[in-house]
């Protein structure tokens, strides 16, 4: 079953490949969509009544936050440390955990699907992908990495069973990622893709490496022992991958 949902300012596609009764699949899709909309309502920085907005205004203190928001805040702090400050939920002055929340929400959605019996699925949230198991045909999920200059072409195709793929780049939205140390737009890298076990981390790592510029390539290589492989295209058209990137044959 395939479903497309507009939520969190993007499009989320839900592919369930399990051999389950259709009413069950429909219920799983509905639960997934409900969760994603709940996250949007609670974590949007654009909704005055969201939990994040209330926390930003000081109407909630840490003790009064939901366990989910506390988790997000802790995770953003961990990422700030892990990325040497290049992933910064306070880069704009005010808390904005959006860079973590989308990947986390999809990661949680996938875990909930698995707990509910869907062990073969693929969620694609605006290009950030989390898959489990295999397609209905029994094959790994194929994930193409968009060519950074040619939108209708791919730079690599990955074969993924259980894992996540996230890409951050400058080709879609220009200079939207900044080096938090200089305040200047990130330079040097055109596209950074990270594949690994957790979508929230893969997405955050990709953004941090993009912000680092070329030194981000070496930084990404250090994530390999933790299970995070990467592919990078530089502004001057060079390409790099780590050795274990699961490129489809």
């Amino acid at each position: 079953m395939r479903h497309v949902e507009h939520v969190m300012g993007t499009v989320v596609s839900i592919d369930l490949a399990d051999d389950l009764p259709e009413p069950t699949l429909r219920a799983l899709v509905a639960d997934t969509c409900a969760w994603l909309h709940e996250v949007d309502a609670r974590f949007s920085t654009y909704r005055e009544d969201s939990e994040v907005s209330r926390f930003r205004r000081g109407e909630l203190d840490l003790a009064g936050c939901s366990p989910d928001l506390r988790h997000v805040l802790d995770a953003c702090a961990d990422l700030w440390r892990a990325t040497d400050g290049y992933f910064d939920a306070y880069a704009g002055g005010l808390l904005d955990p959006s860079g973590y929340v989308k990947g986390w929400s999809v990661e949680v959605a996938s875990a909930r699907l698995a707990e509910a019996g869907s062990v073969n699925h693929c969620l694609n949230a605006g290009g950030d992908i989390r898959s489990r198991g295999r397609t209905a045909a029994g094959a790994p999920w194929r994930v193409g990495i968009r060519h950074p200059w040619q939108p209708d072409k791919l730079s690599w195709v990955l074969a993924i069973t259980d894992g996540a793929v996230a890409t951050s780049g400058t080709y879609e939205r220009g200079d939207h990622v900044r080096n938090p140390r200089t305040g200047a737009p990130a330079r040097g890298l055109r596209s950074v893709t990270v594949a690994g076990p957790d979508l929230a981390l893969a997405d955050s790592y990709a953004t941090a490496a993009l912000a680092m510029g070329e030194p981000g390539i070496a930084w990404l290589a250090k994530l390999v022992p933790d299970g995070y492989e990467s592919a990078v295209v530089t502004e001057d058209t060079r390409a790099f991958t780590t050795a274990g990137l699961p490129v489809a044959l």
Partner: protein, 123 residues
């Protein structure tokens, strides 16, 4: 005999300034060169990359005169060639920078807390 496909350019021993079209190569030609390069298939990565970076990290790189930048240069795969394929619709999910409807407010200059669009939690 000088091939008409090559153009003399200014350089040591040749201070003559090129003139005519050669002085300003057409942008189209540059774009074509880049496109051609991008179609080249990527070379296989070597598993030694991570080991070498580890070596640099450990300080042993100093002994070999290797820096991270040297290691990266050694393992440059060339161009992001890609399979050059256009994927069959539905055959692959495409990972890319957010293809959402709204721009993502991920990074802004310090002090810039402007919003883009309501409803965007975007990451």
């Amino acid at each position: 005999m000088t091939s008409s496909r090559f153009t003399r350019v200014a350089g040591p021993g040749n201070s003559a300034r090129p003139s005519g079209p050669a002085a300003h190569p057409p942008l189209v030609a540059n774009a074509r060169a880049r496109t051609t390069a991008l179609h080249r298939p990527p070379r296989a990565a070597s598993p030694a990359l991570d080991d070498l970076l580890g070596l640099v990290d450990s300080g042993l790189g100093d002994l070999l005169g290797l820096t991270e930048r040297d290691v990266i240069r050694l393992f440059d795969l060339g161009d992001p060639s890609g399979p050059g394929d256009r994927p069959e619709p539905g055959s692959v999910r495409v990972s890319r920078d957010n293809a959402g409807h709204h721009p993502r407010p991920r990074r802004r200059p310090p002090g810039d807390s402007r919003r883009t669009r309501p409803g965007d939690t975007g990451a």
